[in-house]
C-alpha cells in the first residue's frame, strides 16, 4: 500500500507551493486575454510582391489614430494588425490607407505583368465590440459559479448516507477546494505561457476550464465513493480507511488519466494549431485533476477530521 495519507504533509505542501506560485504568476503577469474578451480588431493581411515592414505599416496608419495598434509579422509571411477599434468603417479605412501607401490602385497599365504587382490580400478580419467581450467575461464567470454550486449540492446529497465521522457537506466543500486548486494552477500555467509564449485566452479556454471542473470532480468522486463504501465496514480508523480507499482506486485514476492524456497529447503534438491552446488547458487540467483527487482531496478529509477531533478533545 502507498503511504498517501501518512505522508499527507508532503503532498499538501506541494499543492500549497503550486497554488502560491500560480497566484503570484497571475498577479504579476496577469492573464493574456484574447480578442474574444477584450474586444477590438484583428486583421491578417498578406502583402504580395512587396517587402513587409512593421514600422512602415505603423507609420502609414498613424493618421488614423488607432488605439493600441500592434503590428506583428508572422512566420507565414503575413502581417497581423491588432487595434482596439472595432467598427466596419475603421476597417475599410485601414485597408484603404495600406493600399494607397503600397501604391496599389486599380489603374493597372494595360499589358503589364500582374504577377509582379503589389497587392494586398485580406486573410482574416475579426472584430469584437467591447460590450460583447465584457458580456462573455461575466457570462463565463456566472456559468462557472453556477457549476460550482450545483456540484456542492449534488455531492452533499449523494454522500448523505455517510455523515460520520465527516459530515457530507464537507465532502462537497473539499471537492470544491480541489477544483479551485486545479483551476488556479491551470490559470497560473496560462499566465506564464501568456507572458513568455504569447498564448491567448479566448472562448474555447472557458470550455476547457469547465471541462477541467467536470474531470476533476469526477476523479474526486471516484475516490470519495470508495471511502463511502469502506467507512460502514469500520475495519480501521478514519485515516487508515481513507488511505486504503485511495490505494484501491489509484490504479484506476492513473489508467484513466493515462488514456485521456494519450488522446490529448497526440492532438497537442500532432494536431492542428487552432485548438492547441484548448487542448493544452485540458491536458494540464487532467493531470492536475488526477493529482488533486489522490493527493489533495483525500488528505484534506483526514486533516479536517483530525482538526475537528482535536477541538473536541480540547
Amino acid at each position: 500500500m502507498y503511504k498517501i495519507i501518512p505522508l499527507r504533509k508532503i503532498w499538501l505542501s506541494f499543492s500549497a507551493v503550486l497554488v502560491t506560485l500560480s497566484i503570484i504568476a497571475i498577479a504579476v503577469w496577469g492573464l493574456n486575454f484574447g480578442l474574444d474578451f477584450t474586444g477590438g480588431s484583428l486583421l491578417e493581411l498578406k502583402i504580395h510582391n512587396q517587402e513587409v515592414d512593421a514600422v512602415q505599416i505603423k507609420e502609414a496608419l498613424a493618421p488614423l489614430k488607432l488605439s493600441s495598434l500592434v503590428v506583428q509579422p508572422t512566420e507565414n509571411d503575413t502581417v497581423l494588425l491588432r487595434f482596439q477599434n472595432s467598427t466596419e468603417d475603421i476597417h475599410k479605412e485601414v485597408v484603404g490607407v495600406l493600399e494607397s501607401s503600397y501604391g496599389i490602385n486599380d489603374n493597372n497599365v494595360e499589358g503589364e505583368d500582374l504577377g509582379s504587382q503589389a497587392s494586398i490580400e485580406e486573410l482574416r478580419f475579426d472584430a469584437v465590440g467591447p460590450s460583447i467581450g465584457e458580456e462573455l467575461k461575466s457570462k463565463s464567470i456566472n456559468a462557472i459559479i453556477l457549476v460550482l454550486i450545483i456540484i456542492v449540492i449534488y455531492i452533499s446529497l449523494v454522500f448523505k448516507k455517510v455523515s460520520k465521522p465527516v459530515a457530507s457537506w464537507k465532502y462537497g466543500i473539499i471537492a470544491i477546494i480541489a477544483l479551485f486548486h486545479d483551476i488556479v494552477i491551470t490559470l497560473g500555467v496560462f499566465a506564464v505561457l501568456g507572458e513568455f509564449m504569447n498564448l491567448e485566452i479566448n472562448t474555447p479556454f472557458v470550455a476547457a476550464i469547465l471541462t477541467v471542473l467536470g474531470y476533476s470532480v469526477n476523479d474526486t468522486i471516484v475516490v470519495f465513493d470508495r471511502i463511502r463504501e469502506n467507512l460502514p465496514k469500520q475495519l480501521d480508523n478514519f485515516a487508515k480507511t481513507v488511505n486504503r480507499s485511495v490505494n484501491q482506486t489509484v490504479t484506476r485514476s492513473i489508467n484513466t488519466s493515462t488514456t485521456t492524456l494519450l488522446v490529448l497529447l497526440s492532438i497537442l503534438f500532432l494536431g492542428g494549431n487552432s485548438i492547441k491552446e484548448f487542448i493544452l488547458a485540458l491536458a494540464i487540467g487532467a493531470l492536475i485533476g488526477t493529482y488533486s483527487s489522490i493527493f489533495l482531496a483525500s488528505p484534506l478529509l483526514v486533516v479536517w477530521n483530525d482538526f475537528v477531533n482535536k477541538k473536541i478533545k480540547d
Partner: protein, 556 residues
Amino acid sequence: MKKITWNRLLKPSAKGKRRWIFVLVLVFAVLSFLITGGAYYNQAASWTKEVTNNTINLPHVQENPFRLGLDLQGGTHLVYQADVSEVPEGGRGEALSGVRDVIERRVNVFGVSEPLVQVNRNASGDYRLIVELAGVTDIDEATEMIGDTPLLEFKQRPEDFVPGEIQSSEIEIQPETSSSATSTATTTTTTTTTIDLSEEDINSPIASIQDQATNYEDWENTKLSGKHLKRSVVQFNPTDNSPEVSLEFNKEGSDLFGQITEENIGSPIAIFLDGYIISAPRVNEKISGGQAVISGNFDLEEAKTLTQRLNAGALPVPINLLSQKTVGASLGAQSINTSLQAGILGLILVALFLIIYYRIPGLLAVLSLAIYGLTVLAIFKAMSIILALVMVTIIIGLMIYTFHDLKVFDSILSILLITIGIFLFIYALKPVTLTLSGIAGFILSIGMAVDANILIFERFKEELKSGKSLAQSIDEGFSRAWPSIRDGNISTIFICLVLMFFGTGSVQGFGTTLFIGISVSMFSAIVITRTFMLMVMSKYLNKKPWLMGISNKYSK
C-alpha cells in the same frame, strides 16, 4: 414442438435472455453504422452488385453529411445589436423575430447554405442578432448582404399632378384573393396600349431605379411604410406560370393600403427603397385584406430582385454591427484534418493500452467503444423520426433492463434516464453543428467512456482476485462500479446542461457534444460491455485468469 419453441422465445432462460440482448446490441450497432457510415455502405453495396453481376443487389441507404460549424468550413460570423427603443416593451420579441425572418430571407436570396440567424437577449435586456454564413469569407459582401436598415416607402401621385410622358405602367397590383386567371386576362388587355413605354423599365429594373430617382419629388408620401409590410415572396401565376410578387401587410398596413388603393384606382402607386423607386404598379381596384400581388411580365430574376428589395425594406428594427469574424476555409480544413488524424492515433494508442492491460475484457471494451463512437456520430447527424425513436428506445430500454438486472434502479436513475432520453431524441432528429470545441467535447467524452470501462474492470479484477467466479465477478464488478460512474457522470451532465443553456457559441457546442457523449458512454459501458462480457464467459476462461487481466496465480 411448436409450443416449446414459442415458450423458449417468450420465456427465455437466463442464457437465452443474454442472447436476445446480444442480438439487439448487434442490431443497434448495425443501425448506428448505417447512419454514420452510410456512404461506405453504399459503396460496398455497389461494389457487391458489380462483382456478383446483379445477383446480390443490396438496398442503398440515405447518406447524411455532418453539419460543420463555421470554424471548420470557413465563413463569416456577425453579431448585430438591435435598437428596440422605438418598439414598445411587449412587442420586442416579436419585432426581433420579424428582423430575423427578414435577414434570413435576404441571406437566402444569395444562396448561402444553411445560414444561421439567431436572436439572443442578454442579461441587460439588449437584443442581439447572431448571423453565421458558411462559405462566405468576404465580410464586405456579407455585411452588404444583410445591410443596414433600408427605408421602404409607399408613395402616391399628388392630386395636382400633371401627367407627363411616362406615367402608365403595365405592372399592376391586385388583391391576392382574386382569381389570378381573370385579372391576368384584364392586365393583358388594358395594358396593350402602353406596353411600348414601360417595356424598357421592366427589362432593366436596376437601371430604371437610377433613372427614375429624380422623380422622387413627384410623388407624395403616404402613411404606409416598410414597417407595415410583413413579407413579400415570389409566386407563380396559376394560369400561365409567370412569376409574380406577393405582398402581405400587417393589420394597420392592410387598412392603410386599402385606403390608398381606393384613392388611386387607375393610377400607379410607387414603392421607394432608400429614395429609389423599385416598382410603380398601377392600381385597378381597392385592395382590402392586406394581401396583394404585383404582376406584369417580369422574369424570375426580376421578381426575385423586387421581392428581395421589398423584404429589405420590411425590416422593422434598426440593427448595428457589433462584431464580425471570418474564418478562412483552408485554415479550418487543414486544422480539422491534422487534428482528426492525431485524434485517431490517440485512440489507437488507447485501444492498445486497454487490450495489453486488461486483455479479453480490454478487447471487448474496444469493441464496445467502437459501437459507442458510431452511435455518437449517428446522433450528430440528422435521422428520421422513426429511426431516432428506435435508437433512443433501444438505448433507454436496455439501460432500464440492465439496471434492474444489477438491482441498482432507483429514483435518481429514472430522472436521469428520462432526461437523457428526451435530449438524445431531440439531438437525434436534428443535426448537431460540429465545431472544433464540439469535437473536443466528443474526444473528452471518449475519455469518460474509457474511464467507465476502467472503473468496471478494476472492480472486476478485485472481485476475481478475492476468489469469486467469473459470473459473480462480472456482476459485482458492474454493480459496485456503478455508483462512482453515476455520480461522476451526473455531475458532468449538470455541467453540460449549464453550458448548453447559459453558454454562447462554441461553449454551447462543447456542452452539447459532451452531453451526448456522456449519455451514450453510460449505455456503452453498462449495457454493451456487460453484454459482451456475459457472452464470452465460459468454463474455459474461468480457468485462464491471465486472459481476464489478472495473474495466473489466482487460478482455481
